[in-house]
Symmetry: C2
Subunit: 558 residues, 2 copies
């Protein structure tokens, strides 16, 4: 049996004009700023006018710890949205934008897969509506203004050794990770160490995704700490007078993007913050807008539920004042097997025992999410090689945990394949069973917040942090940042900080290597292990095979 | 008397939907890819379908050597286009896109001024339709792939000391001019010197502006020389396998942008190559498309006629197979005075003598342009402080040179103020007087081409170039690049290479400091003097005052 590729399916899409998609949500053509015929931004004015409208139900799609086998979180988000619409519900989805750089390395697209895709997928994986370029520009304008300030006399007394604001590029370019700038003599400034991160790792990206509106955006941009003086007092972007111009550069990017699924259902695609050093969720403004316009809003969070859902709950929901009505945890039989110790090459043959052995990873995510007071259902994203017995093993396990697992075939059949899941999710969301509460209160001391996440979510025994780190957290508490939530940066492959420790480990320690204050975004990043903020290209980057074919279509991107 | 600012006038514009503007040119809504309601790209398919249509008349707007007083070349281009439409002609204009970076330094916008503007001006000076971001991405993808190639074994044997492909950013950032990359250890590659230019200085920009279509674009991108081996043989972008992916990144950027003037006349705004190390004209594809759709196309070239018009004739027209039917040389009384030796602070009072003393600068441009076989008319761009006697002095001088100078008030009155100019330009263009020929034939030896430009256009006595430079030019001739035109890079402020030598100097020498081969763009850059390819920000960058006001409008950008 042969299947069409994602790009082949996407090309056959019967797209409707974006104005029709907007009209279904009650957005007039005047309030849609088109980008081509199949993409549009929703105007700030329209969004401001929604104040006071009632909210729809919010559904989060999260997953088990990712494995190389893939789980299909975005695919399930799209399939569930289409499924809800198929059973007569007015549903919209909210997902993240794709980063351009990694598409030229080895990463696939970020628009779903099979018959559960968002279109136009090529453009979503290229420049889309230019949001990430705007973020790159705003970030680098601030960088240029910092060095320029020093060049012209350094009135603010910036300690050049303590500049914490780097530069960004939406590209996988390891050569830029660690550089020396301002060489070449007097006219080029004072030589110092610097470097580039990938754009999605920019605090500007996190800010855009958390800001309520343009006023809030400007305030948060002004709050960014760019450097310190010799006396360790911080210097803000506001001091550099960059916040106004950065806001101007971001004014269009702040407007959520509307596109459609293959089944012509509305999809908001907006923002794409790094899921480790930031919170990894689509924008607050898109989610809130969708909630005003649709009865059901399906959204996703980065990585597995230990990282993604926790940040969705403790950072995004807390800060945005929203609460999930139901959560879907995506699992695949193959990923269960890998969690059960099977190598990727051996995933083919039926292996019920391995499935059973991997299930505790799923079980812990179920329990964790329930701990936030939210009803849970498991979606088994069907793969053609799955056997009946393997699927049943997952279902049985989930039932034993007091939850339900539903087999979904949206990859193969689109929304039709997710109707059962949609029906159950709607029941859960409508049932009023959610009594969401974040994991920790705002006023808990910072280190205690870290311990709470480590013990309650990761099931670790302890958090290891030397005096310097504990002192730093206490200093920030004194400086008025003690109310901020924690943004954990650790490997996505395990509950622990060891990427090879699959399943549901216990008895481990969480060593904190570094803490960073994202004062504009409004969280404290706690780094456990190596975090790569600028990826490199592989030996044979996919860029080598990307080209336009004779029909002018993009080949090789996916 | 008080005047409204450019931005105030632009905000009051009574814009028509871009589809109406397109319809006037015969472009159906299906072939317009909208970006908001007032900008659109014209589809490649539509452009391909224009093959065989008859061309309209091509009018170039150029200027005397620029002075800090300003000449208003873009303003006159817009005013003339509006004027032609007012006298019943079907006219379109073609101008360049603005670079984002300099707008945050001190540069004003690039959309004209007063009542002769193109709108939406804020967006044209910000991200517009994302073309420059696409160029940045394509350029930097190639950069990343070069370092990545070396990292993974350097199969092509790139000599790391002879990498000639830098990185680009659309930002004024002097700290990036001269950097060391790949520090930080084994995982980050091999440390080497590098640097960033501003995006408009990228060869990719020049290529986009000279390419006929996407196939030609890919071919030219592949022809870019990125580095040399130890044996000095060149390595091309094609060898790095970057040309396909770069083309994909540029596929939308290759589609010309359509906007409108304040008087709702069509304006193509596309491309913006540096006017010194590149040719400084809007894209060939936009100009050719406009020529198929309008009876009169008004376009402009960078800097004064010695640099801009010469490159327009010898690079753009030669390579694109187009020919101008008439040329407008823009002058102002104030600029004449500065050319006559008056300081900017003293431009206020009437000074007929200084005007007369500055006129030979204009006279030489008139003679030079006539030398290309094209009829010329001078536009005196009226300034409120100009006196009757000063204006008459310019008119008398121009008459003495066998040409005509026409006073234009488009800044104050829009197209109405340029009706007289429009009438005369249409007569000239329709008269069939143009017998355009480039300055030198393709097969002239490269150094002789440089001498021809220096002597015939700059009125220099000689070109000074040491043996190394002459040898290099001969090597390129042997390598098959001898047919390429020359792209002179010298100061725009003087016919000579000394920016302080105003008027119409003679007896000077043109020292060649360096020559560069832009094999993809298809010209040889001859550098005379210092050429800054990455600007810096001033002590108080305009970014400090740029912000959104309470109405959500952009303040401080202009």
């Amino acid at each position: 049996m042969s299947y069409k590729s994602d790009i082949e399916i996407a090309r056959e899409a019967n797209k409707k004009p974006i104005q029709e998609i907007g009209a279904r949500l009650g957005i007039g053509a005047d309030h849609l700023l088109p980008y081509g015929h199949d993409k549009a931004k929703v105007s700030q004015d329209f969004i401001a006018g929604l104040n006071g409208h009632e909210n729809g139900k919010l559904i989060l799609v999260t997953a088990i710890n990712p494995t190389p086998a893939g789980e299909g979180k975005t695919t399930t988000t799209v399939g569930l949205g289409d499924g809800l619409n198929r059973i007569g519900k007015n549903a919209a989805i909210c997902i993240r934008e794709a980063s351009l750089g990694p598409c030229f390395g080895m990463k696939g697209g970020a628009a779903g897969g099979g018959y559960a895709q968002v279109v136009p997928m090529e453009e979503m994986n290229l420049h889309f509506t230019g949001d990430f370029h705007a973020i790159t520009s705003a970030h680098n304008l601030l960088s240029a203004m910092i060095d320029n300030h020093i060049y012209w006399g350094n009135e603010l007394e910036i300690d050049e050794r303590r500049i914490v604001w780097r530069r960004v590029m939406d590209m996988n370019d390891r050569a830029l990770r660690d550089i020396v700038v301002s060489l070449g003599g007097v006219a080029n400034g004072f030589p110092r160490q610097g470097g580039f991160d990938i754009t999605v790792a920019s605090e500007v990206m996190a800010i855009l995704c958390l800001a309520d509106d343009l006023d809030d955006l400007r305030k948060r941009l002004g709050d960014i700490i760019v450097a310190y003086r010799r006396d360790r007092t911080p210097i803000y972007a506001r001091d550099i007078k960059a916040d106004g111009a950065m806001t101007v550069l971001l004014k269009d990017a702040m407007q959520p993007n509307l596109v459609q699924t293959l089944e012509n259902n509305p999809a908001f695609v907006h923002g794409g913050p790094f899921a480790n050093i930031a919170h990894g969720c689509n924008s607050v403004i898109a989610t809130k807008t969708a909630l005003k316009l649709a009865d059901y809003v399906v959204t996703e969070a980065g990585f597995g539920a230990d990282l993604g859902a926790e940040k969705f709950f403790d950072i995004k929901c807390r800060k945005a004042g929203i609460a999930p009505d139901a959560v879907v945890i995506v699992a695949t039989v193959r990923a269960m097997k890998m969690n059960g110790g099977v190598a990727k090459a051996d995933l083919g043959p039926e292996n019920v025992e391995a499935v059973q052995k991997g299930c505790p990873n799923l079980g812990r995510h179920i329990a964790n999410v329930k701990g936030f007071g939210v009803p849970v259902v498991v979606a088994i994203n069907h793969f053609v090689t799955d056997t009946e017995a393997e699927i049943q093993a997952v279902k049985d396990y989930v039932a034993s945990q007091g939850s339900e697992a539903i087999l979904c075939r949206h990859w193969e059949k689109g929304g039709e394949g997710a109707e059962e899941l949609a029906t159950r999710v709607a029941e859960l969301a409508d049932g009023g069973w959610s009594h969401f509460a974040p994991l920790y209160p705002d006023d808990m001391p910072l280190f205690e917040k870290v311990e709470t996440i480590a013990k309650r979510i990761y099931h670790a025994d302890e958090v290891l942090a030397d005096k310097k780190i504990r002192d730093q957290l206490r200093e920030w508490e004194k400086a008025g940042y003690g109310h901020l939530p924690i943004c954990m940066a650790k490997t996505q492959y395990s509950f622990s900080t060891d990427p090879n420790l699959r399943g549901a480990p216990t008895g481990h320690s969480v060593p904190v290597r570094e803490v960073r204050l994202s004062a504009g975004a409004g969280f404290i990043v706690v780094i456990c292990g190596e975090i790569m903020t600028m990826p490199g290209l592989p030996r044979h980057p996919s860029a080598e095979a990307i080209m336009l074919n004779e029909a002018g279509e993009v080949e090789g991107l996916f």
